[in-house]
């Protein structure tokens, strides 16, 4: 059932690049909401901060302590959601989680580099690593919603 897999399948260049040098790592000086996701099983922890720009995400930062999958997932998430509305992000998060669960990459233009993480699917025990940043983002969005009515 399993093919002879090249060891690089999962750890594509893009993933390794972002894991080594993430673009959105750090902490926004000013932000509207923040949330933390953690996986007590392995100690992975993602702290997401977002700044709104009217109804859209203006900026996102993440502080991630975790594996390459988790860091790159957080960082590619940053690319994908900046400039999007809360509804669009909700859809994107659903699509991402479905991709991890099923291994099928969705056919949507806004999905872009998130496809790089589809290989995580074959590693059931790593799903959490990839979805943890999205979980934190959802939590942060929930708070802004709350705050802004």
């Amino acid at each position: 059932m399993q093919d002879v897999a090249s060891i690089e399948d999962l750890y594509q260049n893009l993933i390794m690049e972002r894991a080594r040098a993430p673009c959105h790592a750090g902490s926004l000086a000013a932000f509207d909401a923040e949330a933390e996701g953690d996986n007590p099983m392995c100690g992975d922890r993602v702290h997401v901060r977002i700044r709104r720009d009217r109804n859209r995400i203006g900026a996102l930062s993440h502080e991630t302590r975790g594996c390459a999958i988790c860091i790159s997932a957080a960082d590619l998430m940053g690319d994908a959601v900046i400039g999007k509305s809360q509804d669009e992000i909700g859809e994107l998060a659903d699509a991402f989680e479905t991709m991890i669960a099923t291994g099928n990459t969705p056919d949507r233009p806004d999905f872009a580099d998130l496809r790089a993480l589809s290989g995580v699917h074959t590693y059931r025990s790593r799903h959490r690593c990839a979805t943890l940043p999205w979980q934190a983002l959802r939590a942060a969005l929930g708070k802004t919603e709350h705050r802004h009515g």
Partner: protein, 413 residues
């Protein structure tokens, strides 16, 4: 070392042939299973004993007056004799439970809530598995005992000075400590610890989940009060574990679980208890699994612990030597006396990524805190990778691990 092994006739290829799973392929690669400390694989002899029971001699035990039940009871109680001999105990001192975890919980509930009084102290060490920490925290919170943590040294051995400090006020009534750490590999000097605890009037419980797999254990020579281990780590089935308790201790303890088989007599108003070990075995036991454990004990006895210990020492020495050649790899613990478990970190690579990338190459290691989260943090880590060895592990597999790790480093280059 390999000369010594040959002398005692250890043929690892013949042993490997006893374990059907070792012929499997993973991601198209030959399986290199280096996760035996989490749970060991099962030899044909264990599988066969379970199948034979289900196919030819199965019925509920103890109360049956018919042939199947008598035969099955014989096999079940025969396994108790094997475990008793394995630990050098009496059969009345062997209680069957699900696993080492349940065994410790049984002692915490039954001994902990009667013999221990609020204000008494229990000492564990910094290197305990959660199984030997959480039950005592729960007892502390429900029953008012004090829980003290004895420190380990930088080498990852027990700090006897700190142990003495913990015992100094005379309030310690129980020392509950691992016989071998599942992270550091450290063996604790159990005879010395038992003598130490007894000198202070305390009892000693030993968590032998790891040690019992690698070394012959003699509870009388150790003078252990309680000793626990799990069948599944000893090449036996899951669902079966062992609590050894000194006869006089078990006799004085109230039951833990109530139900069938653990009673002497029951009325609507009141029940009285059976003698140990039955007092502690409520309901239908893990019959098939207990018989499987008996077969596992026969299996390791046939190889012999002298040979097993020598083989594993040789593997561990080899692993420590070749792993230390990898730049940026750090092994946790450097105890003098250590067993076949090597936890490590690799600079710049998270342990999960190490495990996944090794798995892609067919190599199974574990990553995380190995159910010893406080120890992992105490060592300054969130998680580590761990390779662990069994009777079927080869030097070649350790070399495969090293090549695999070099490949990981390339990816993270």
């Amino acid at each position: 070392m390999s000369v010594a092994i040959e002398r005692i006739g250890f043929d690892v290829e013949r042993i490997r042939a006893d374990f059907p799973i070792l012929a499997e392929r993973v991601h198209g690669r030959k399986l290199v299973f280096l996760d035996s400390a989490a749970s060991a694989q099962k030899p044909r002899a264990v599988i066969d004993a379970m199948v034979r029971t289900m196919e030819t001699r199965y019925a509920n035990v103890h109360r049956g007056l018919h042939w199947m039940s008598e035969r099955c009871s014989d096999d079940y109680e025969g396994a108790r004799d094997k475990v008793a001999a394995f630990l050098n105990a009496a059969r009345e001192e062997i209680v069957f439970v699900r696993n080492a975890t349940e065994a410790i919980n049984l002692v915490a509930h039954s001994y902990g809530r009667t013999v221990l009084q609020p204000g008494d102290a229990v000492v564990v060490s910094e290197m305990e598995h959660h199984a030997n920490l959480v039950p005592w925290q729960m007892l502390r919170d429900s029953h008012g005992i004090e829980l003290r943590i004895a420190k380990i040294t930088e080498a990852g051995e027990l700090d006897f000075h700190d142990l003495e400090r913990n015992f100094a006020d005379g309030r310690v009534r129980l020392l509950a400590i691992t016989h071998m750490s599942n992270v550091l590999g450290t063996y604790t000097p159990v005879e010395r610890l038992a003598a130490f605890a007894h000198a202070y009037g305390a009892r000693i419980l030993l968590d032998g989940a790891q040690a019992a797999v690698h070394r012959a254990v003699d509870v009388r020579a150790i003078d252990a009060d309680f000793y626990v281990f799990s069948g599944h780590k000893l090449y036996g089935p899951s669902g079966i574990g062992v609590l050894y308790g000194k006869r006089e201790l078990l006799e004085a303890m109230p039951p833990f679980l109530g139900g069938g088989d653990m009673i002497r007599s029951v009325s609507y108003e009141k029940s009285s208890w059976a003698e140990p070990p039955y007092r502690f075995e409520a309901g239908t036991p893990a019959i098939i699994e207990t018989i499987g454990l008996g077969a596992a004990i026969d299996y390791v006895n046939a190889i012999g612990f002298e040979a097993i210990a020598a083989h594993e020492r040789s593997l561990t020495d080899h692993a420590l030597a070749v792993l230390s050649d990898i730049d940026g790899l750090h092994v946790l613990g450097r105890a003098q006396d250590r067993g076949g478990v090597v936890a490590f970190t690799l600079d710049g690579v998270h342990a999960h990524d190490v495990a996944t990338l090794l798995d892609k190459q067919g190599i199974a290691v574990r990553a995380g805190h190995h159910c010893a989260e406080p120890l992992t943090r105490r060592l300054g880590q969130d998680s580590t990778a761990r390779a662990s060895f069994g009777v079927y592990t080869t030097h070649g597999e350790i070399d495969a691990l090293v090549s695999g790790l070099r490949r990981v480093k390339q990816v993270f280059g």
